[in-house]
């Protein structure tokens, strides 16, 4: 069970050290993988998150959240630091990118050790070819054509396997709204 942000704030105000460890356990890796979605380099993402944690503790920012929740505050701080660092030419103000960042942030906020190992187990449990396609396209960035040629299958087969694989990887519902959406869609 994940520790609540209220609890973390309470401990931070009482005992800096203990509070930091709770904060770190709950948020370090989620923030790093979130930063990585912009920076695409884990060591640099770790640096960014560590800098933010450092300021957060040293400046006692947890006392000045001003109504924002702890996770909103931290994720926003990391997002801003990353956007500043990346400064893409096709600026990230268009609706599609903003929506994508929103979705990525929502997912990063619920990640934890257990969920991650569940996802990895689910991937390992996929049928061999499906798993191969999922990994090649999503993790190795290959194109449909490449994967099709390397495995002697048609591009259509690749697309189908990918869709099956991604569709199968939702054993756990990460938040209530997604569950309702699923039930709602099922009825349609």
């Amino acid at each position: 069970m994940m520790i609540g942000t209220e609890e973390i704030l309470r401990v931070l105000n009482e005992d800096n050290n203990k509070g930091f460890n709770l904060l770190f356990d709950r948020f370090y890796r989620p923030l790093v993988v979130f930063a990585d979605s912009f920076i695409k380099d884990i060591p640099s993402s770790e640096d960014i998150v560590q800098d933010i944690f450092y300021s957060f503790i040293k400046l006692k920012s947890y006392k000045k959240l001003e109504g924002r929740t702890l996770d909103t505050y931290l994720f926003r701080a990391v997002k801003n630091a990353c956007l500043n660092k990346v400064k893409k030419k096709d600026s990230v103000d268009n609706k599609l990118d903003l929506l994508k960042i929103e979705a990525v942030e929502e997912e990063a906020k619920v990640l934890n050790e257990k969920l991650i190992s569940d996802i990895k187990a689910e991937i390992d449990n996929l049928p061999d070819r499906t798993r191969l396609v999922v990994k090649s396209i999503l993790l190795n960035g290959k194109r449909y054509k490449e994967v099709a040629q390397e495995n002697n299958i048609s591009v259509n087969t690749v697309k189908t396997l990918l869709r099956n694989g991604v569709g199968a990887l939702r054993a756990k519902f990460t938040d209530v709204s997604e569950m309702f959406l699923y039930l709602f869609l099922k009825k349609m």
Partner: protein, 391 residues
């Protein structure tokens, strides 16, 4: 709800930023049609992201980061706490401002294209048991090796072995040694049977008993290691290297004793250490924050107060140099990244630099940082770094 195949493909391509402008418009139009489309889009992106995140998650060394942060956040026991606290915060802000400013101006192409052969170091080592049997470490985490004497060695998830968990420790009657060798470009961690923690840097080896028996705890080091010695008044801890011996009671210190180098450097963080030297008869006792530099050629010892962080930060995954010559910097980087150095302009060897970077970064990025501060230029050819004066 059935999403059109086309749209589904767009979403996947867009996730890896491979979508064309027209395709983006198509996707955006579809999303804007109604709220269900928007929600479905987000749901798919979340799943794609979680698959990617599950891979990246395991690349993160959480415990190393925690230790580093704990050290950074520790209050300094010093008369000048207030001043250094404020100074540190200001420096941090200025530091972040400069980093952001610099990144927007950096021209990355030159070094990055050619640095494929030089890879940063990783967790790896070779363990030799008393029977002579050799085991390769660092490939997979949580591996279990059984040695010929029936003992069980388990590699922890952070790239270390804990001898307190060595299974048949209780049955050992006489001293048995293991030897851990870390190659160029490697690093490894150990916890000895008394609880002493050891971090081994690149190109180093440590010979140590599987279980400490007798009146003292004696180990043999070649290369560089950072120790956190478990306290035991009855059994002094002795580190033997080729040219100096250290006698310790309970303490944290770094030793750099490469046989290929002239200087043996011992840096004490806390506790107390007594040093004995091969060619200097007087023994020295080091106090915290002091460092002993023994020159084998000159047969001389120099003791000075130092900022210990520069010498111990490697174990926390940082490369820190404070006013060191380029010669020394590239020598140490070369050990971690596994490259050789060639100087076109020899005076550059004596140039001094301040560096503080994450040592898991690519060598191109580290060299860029050096290039930016002064008049030096680097070129990488295969596994050789060439140093030239910049125009």
């Amino acid at each position: 709800m059935k999403i059109p195949e086309k749209i589904y493909s767009h979403i996947i391509a867009d996730f890896s930023d491979k979508l064309s402008h027209e395709e983006r418009v198509e996707l955006t139009d579809w999303i804007n049609q109604n709220n269900d489309n928007k929600a479905e889009y987000k749901s798919i992106v979340r799943r794609l992201y979680s698959i990617q995140a599950s891979e990246k998650w395991t690349e993160i060394n959480q415990e190393r980061a925690r230790i580093r942060m704990a050290n950074q956040l520790k209050p300094k026991t010093n008369l000048f706490i207030r001043i250094s606290y404020v100074a540190a915060v200001i420096t941090l802000f200025i530091g972040i401002f400069f980093i952001w400013k610099e990144v927007s101006e950096v021209k990355v192409e030159k070094i990055i294209i050619s640095d494929n052969l030089i890879q940063r170091g990783t967790t790896k080592a070779i363990l030799q048991l008393s029977s002579g049997e050799e085991i390769r470490l660092g490939g997979e985490k949580n591996r279990v090796h059984k040695d010929k004497e029936g003992g069980v060695i388990k590699e922890g998830s952070e790239g270390k072995i804990d001898y307190r968990k060595y299974s048949d420790t209780a049955h050992i009657e006489k001293i048995r040694y293991n030897n851990l060798s870390v190659p160029v470009g490697g690093e490894y961690q150990l916890v000895l049977s008394d609880g002493t923690k050891v971090w081994l840097n690149s190109k180093s080896s440590l010979k140590y008993p599987v279980k400490f028996i007798g009146k003292e705890r004696r180990i043999f080091l070649n290369g560089e290691a950072y120790f956190e010695v478990a306290h035991n008044k009855e059994k002094p801890f002795i580190v033997e290297t080729n040219d100096i011996n250290l006698r310790v009671l309970g303490t944290s210190f770094n030793v750099s004793a490469y046989t290929s180098e002239d200087k043996v450097v011992t840096t004490l963080v806390n506790g107390s250490v007594q040093l004995a030297y091969r060619d200097v008869s007087k023994k020295t006792i080091l106090k915290p924050s002091y460092q002993s530099v023994y020159s084998k050629e000159n047969k001389k010892v120099e003791i000075a107060k130092v900022d210990t962080y520069a010498y111990t930060s490697w174990k926390e995954g940082r490369i820190v140099f404070r006013d060191n010559t380029l010669d020394e910097i590239l020598l140490r980087l070369g050990r971690w990244y596994d490259f050789e150095v060639v100087y076109v302009d020899k005076e550059l060897r004596e140039m001094k630099f301040f560096v503080n970077v994450n040592r898991y970064k690519r060598i191109g990025e580290v060299l860029e940082k050096l290039e930016k501060t002064r008049g030096v230029e680097f070129e990488i050819k295969g596994k050789i770094v060439i140093v030239k004066a910049s125009k």
